[in-house]
């Protein structure tokens, strides 16, 4: 741990040491003559006097110099630890690690440029590395030593996600603004792709004192086309795949090869003529082969300037249609919105078959969607209990019926409480965005979670359910429980337009579909809509083995996963749980493949401001050093040592020739 100074300017006070040294060198020689009766008693003491005086004079000089140095050190307030206020520079390298940086030598060139901009790091310099994709993440927090951070940067390779520049730049700027340093700089390691700057508010300046360095816009790519996620269906003769291919450059002919499973030899090959800026859908018929219940395919173009998006993956896996038991429409309802939502989503994966709740025992593999009070009374209640105990799951919309409330309280141990109503004042908030169901809803836009307003609602007890959303007043609005009564997703509101306009809003169908899909334990994507890198995947079991079968991640050891997982690289993944296995195709985000660079000037240069750093901010920033110094106030010791030196000097100087 090194020693630092809170006010190093006071160390200039050590120059005062020159004064006693000067006085020592120019000290007054005796010029006065004193007549004395006899020197016979003085000559005897003179030699010893000379030696001791010489020693004392040097000792006095030493003590004076030490006292001055210690006093200067006292005022400079020393402390052990990193100096928070005296760094020479603080640099944050904002790294666009999206897969567009894999194009040609772009990554190597930009990384070398960033190293040059960061410059030679001095001991006091701090460098931070901030990744842009999939969201701003510190690879090396700002207090990292410069050489360590640059070593990390040297080992870094671009990822497979898409990136947004503004959030990372804002985070870097705010962090730098709160860092005490003589110079604060952001070095942007990115390719100025249009998509990365899209939506950036160039009018909003960075905090004062933060400087930016941007590289030049790279030159255009000569050949760039991307394979979009294909869809694959089973036919009587084999498989039929539809492969979208998008061309971003001039017209070109590309070769599309299809590989099955882990084979290295393509099973299909064809040349595709792509017009300039054209998106072409290429149908491919593939042989059935010897596949039984599943197969995965890799569709690869011959390499161009950006090879990362020249491959896409598709999975086919047999899946039995799941059954959704829908209870009768509650009396007085004008329309069956839930039934309509389920019907409209029937074409999506996973495919579901909606049937009315039977008067006999309910199949335990099914999902029950219940909103009628009669479903919780009499024989229906007993069938429901058996269904849930047998492994079934239920989506329950609370309508306030007495039988329903009693069943929830007695069987599910959920004592719902009616909330006071005053117009459409009840609103959902505080969504659990990390829950797979909510994450799926908010994947495209968090606006999907806003404006859920109701005229009536029932608050669920927090200690009885795992909350997915809360009422604006108090209590849980949507909760999940997996107790003795089985797996239940309870909505503390009715899917009825008498209580809300929500059933008529755009988020109603996705919510019902994703809720059912979630309860079915299947992802909403499947082969029709493959998952994207960086998005959360819902896994069909609490725990299982997760491994990559194809793609950049293949060959890495299998890991234990459950509930959900976010793949960071494209490919085909297998999730094995029990005796079952499920395949997932993960592909790249489409927008990142567009190599178009920002062409409207260089507005990022205007993010900097020339305003002066507020003094209050500097004081607040220096607080860290003050706290570090106050934890171990060394200046007391220096002051005490200076006092001792001064006292010794006074005592010795009085007995020393001046």
């Amino acid at each position: 741990m090194s020693m630092n100074w809170l006010f190093p300017g006071f160390l200039l006070g050590t120059a005062a040491i020159a004064l006693p040294i000067l006085l020592h060198l120019l000290r007054r020689r005796p010029k006065r003559t004193v007549l004395f009766p006899s020197l016979r008693f003085l000559t005897a003491a003179q030699p010893q006097n000379d030696r001791s005086q010489r020693l004392r004079r040097w000792l006095v000089l030493l003590l004076r110099c030490a006292a001055l140095a210690l006093l200067a050190g006292t005022f400079a307030r020393p402390f052990f630890g990193a100096n928070q206020s005296g760094q020479r520079q603080a640099v944050v390298v904002v790294i666009d690690n999206s897969f567009s940086l894999q194009a040609g030598p772009r990554w190597v060139t930009l990384r070398r440029w960033a190293r040059e901009q960061t410059g030679a790091t001095a001991p006091g310099d701090k460098v931070g590395l901030l990744l842009m994709a999939p969201r701003p993440t510190w690879l090396a927090p700002l207090p990292t030593r410069g050489d360590a951070a640059l070593a990390l940067l040297e080992k870094l390779t671009p990822g497979w996600e898409t990136a947004q520049a503004e959030p990372a730049l804002r985070l870097a700027a705010d962090t730098l603004a709160a860092t005490a340093a003589d110079r604060r700089r952001i070095v942007y390691l990115g390719d100025h792709q249009r998509v990365s700057w899209a939506g950036c508010d160039f009018g909003k300046k960075f905090p004062p004192g933060v400087k930016t360095v941007f590289p030049d816009v790279p030159g255009p790519m000569a050949r760039q086309a991307a394979v979009r996620p294909p869809t694959i269906t089973r036919t009587s003769t084999g498989f039929h795949a539809v492969v979208p291919i998008q061309n971003f450059t001039a017209a070109q002919n590309r070769t599309l090869r299809v590989y099955r499973d882990s084979a290295m030899v393509s099973i299909q090959q064809q040349t595709v003529a792509l017009a300039e800026g054209d998106t072409q859908t290429v149908p491919v018929d593939l042989p059935a082969g010897n596949a039984a219940d599943s197969a995965y395919f890799r569709f690869a173009l011959d390499e161009d300037d950006l090879p990362a998006d020249d491959q896409a993956y598709a999975v086919w896996q047999t899946s039995s249609e799941r059954t959704v038991l829908l209870d009768p429409l509650p009396p007085g309802s004008a329309a069956d919105y839930v039934g309509a939502a389920l019907a409209s989503a029937a074409a999506l994966e996973p495919a579901v078959q909606v049937v009315p709740t039977p008067a006999t025992a309910w199949p335990s593999a099914a999902i029950a969607v219940l909103r009628n009070d009669a479903s919780f009374a009499g024989d229906a209640a007993r069938r429901l209990d058996t269904f849930l105990h047998g492994g079934g799951s239920a989506l329950i919309f609370v309508g306030g019926g007495s039988a329903q409330m009693a069943w929830l309280a007695n069987v599910a141990r959920i004592k719902g409480r009616a909330l006071p109503t005053a117009g459409e004042s009840l609103e959902l908030r505080d969504w659990a965005v990390d829950h797979p169901l909510v994450a799926g809803l908010a994947a495209h836009s968090v606006r999907a979670l806003l404006n859920w307003k109701f005229r009536r609602g029932w608050a669920l007890p927090v200690d009885a359910v795992e909350p997915l959303a809360f009422w604006s007043e108090h209590g849980v609005a949507i909760g999940e429980t997996s107790g003795n009564a089985g797996h239940i997703l309870v909505c503390g509101f009715a899917a009825d337009r008498r209580d809300s306009e929500w059933p008529a809003r755009e988020m109603f169908v996705p919510f019902v579909h994703r809720a059912v899909a979630y309860l079915l334990g299947a992802q909403t994507g499947g082969s029709a809509q493959p998952a994207r890198v960086g998005e959360s995947l819902v896994l069909p079991a609490e725990t299982g083995n997760w491994r990559a079968l194809a793609g950049p991640a293949s060959g890495t050891p299998a890991s234990v996963a459950g509930r959900s997982i976010t793949p960071s690289a494209p490919g085909v993944y297998e999730f094995g749980f029990g005796t079952e296995r499920k395949l997932f195709a993960v592909n790249l985000a489409a927008e990142e493949s567009d190599p178009a660079a920002w062409s409207d000037g260089t507005p990022w240069l205007n993010l900097e401001t020339n305003a002066r750093v507020p003094r209050a901010t500097v004081s607040q920033v220096a607080l860290a050093s003050v706290e570090a110094e106050q934890r171990a106030p060394l200046w007391w010791w220096l002051l005490a040592a200076a006092a001792v030196a001064l006292i010794a000097e006074l005592g010795l100087a009085n007995r020393t020739t001046r």
Binding site: P30, V34, L35, F36, P37, L39, F41, Q48
Partner: protein
């Protein structure tokens, strides 16, 4: 007229011996024979008195000494004791009144007054002219004043007084004499300026001892920058010759205290020797050496039964006069 009144009348007739200050004690009081208490003496006042006679008289008056009595008994007017008549005694000394009252024949003894020969010796070497600060008497001036006062006391007591000046030899010498003009001669000799010669006190004392009469009192005023062992031989001779001695070691305060603060080049008053010195640092060793020298002198003098007194130029010298009187009383 008594002897004291006679001396006072003589002094009053001599304008050089006129009293600048009123006498502290009357002649009658001095005749009473009581030991007077030493009156306080302001040394600044003494220094302000410009001439030697004035200082000498001021000192003599301050000590308040009168006539002394001899320890020898004889046919005098002052009663001393009675004793039985012995054949051969002078019948005139029988106290017939006592015989008439007691029928015993007693001889009446009285104190006999005898003159004392005092040889004053003054060191006039260059080191004696030292004074550490303005307003302070030099060692030589103090010695002159003290010896001058002693000469006056001696004169008043009708004793014989002589003077000798010492440097590296016996410079001037006047043998003790009880003549009326001897006082002025002594004062005149005391006024001789210093010659800047170095001290060889043992040699000079040796010469003085050779010429001084037997059974005299030598009063030596000097700063005694001499080897005590060299002095010891001379003092041994004085003791052998039944001479008495009173040493007055005249010391400047700076010599004893050595309270100099500023570094300086110290120059010897008697030799060309010079020494660059930090006095603060050297003070301790100097004081120790000077004290050891004084101690050696004390042992040398008192070992032979002589008196040794230290007189600082910033302190009253009356103790020296009192010591002389005590010595005189013991010798008479």
């Amino acid at each position: 007229m008594s002897a004291g009144e006679k001396i006072a009348a003589e002094d009053a007739a001599d304008p050089a011996l006129s009293y600048p200050l009123r006498p502290r004690r009357t002649a009658l009081a001095r005749h009473a024979g009581a030991r007077p208490a030493l009156a306080p003496l302001d040394m600044a006042e003494l220094a302000a008195l410009g001439s030697l006679p004035l200082r000498a008289r001021r000192l003599a008056d301050a000590v308040g000494a009168g006539r002394h009595r001899s320890r020898r008994k004889g046919p005098s007017v002052e009663f001393a004791d009675y004793r039985d008549y012995q054949p051969g005694d002078d019948l005139r000394r029988v106290d017939w009144r006592l015989y008439g009252r007691t029928d015993r024949v007693q001889i009446r003894d009285a104190y006999e007054e005898t003159p004392l020969r005092v040889q004053l010796l003054l060191d006039v070497s260059a080191s004696m002219s030292y004074s550490s600060r303005p307003g302070l008497l030099t060692k030589l001036d103090l010695a002159r004043s003290v010896l001058g006062a002693l000469a006056l006391l001696i004169r008043r007591q009708r004793d014989a007084c002589g003077i000798g000046l010492l440097t590296d030899d016996l410079l001037q010498y006047l043998p003790p004499s009880g003549s009326p003009g001897r006082l002025r001669a002594v004062w005149g000799t005391l006024a001789t300026p210093t010659l800047g010669t170095p001290t060889a006190l043992a040699v000079a004392l040796e010469r003085a001892a050779a010429v001084a009469p037997r059974s005299c009192l030598l009063v030596i005023a000097s700063d005694f920058y001499e080897n005590p062992s060299a002095l010891a031989a001379v003092l041994h001779r004085l003791h052998f010759e039944r001479k008495d001695a009173l040493a007055l070691h005249i010391v400047d305060p700076a010599e004893e205290d050595f309270d100099f603060t500023d570094p300086a080049e110290f120059a010897d008053a008697e030799t060309p020797a010079r020494l660059q010195l930090d006095p603060v640092a050297a003070a301790r060793a100097y004081r120790a050496a000077f004290a050891a020298h004084q101690q050696a002198l004390t042992e040398v003098f008192r070992g032979r039964g002589f008196d040794y007194l230290v007189l600082r130029t910033d302190a009253s010298p009356l103790a020296a006069l009192a010591a002389y009187l005590a010595r005189r009383a013991g010798k008479a």
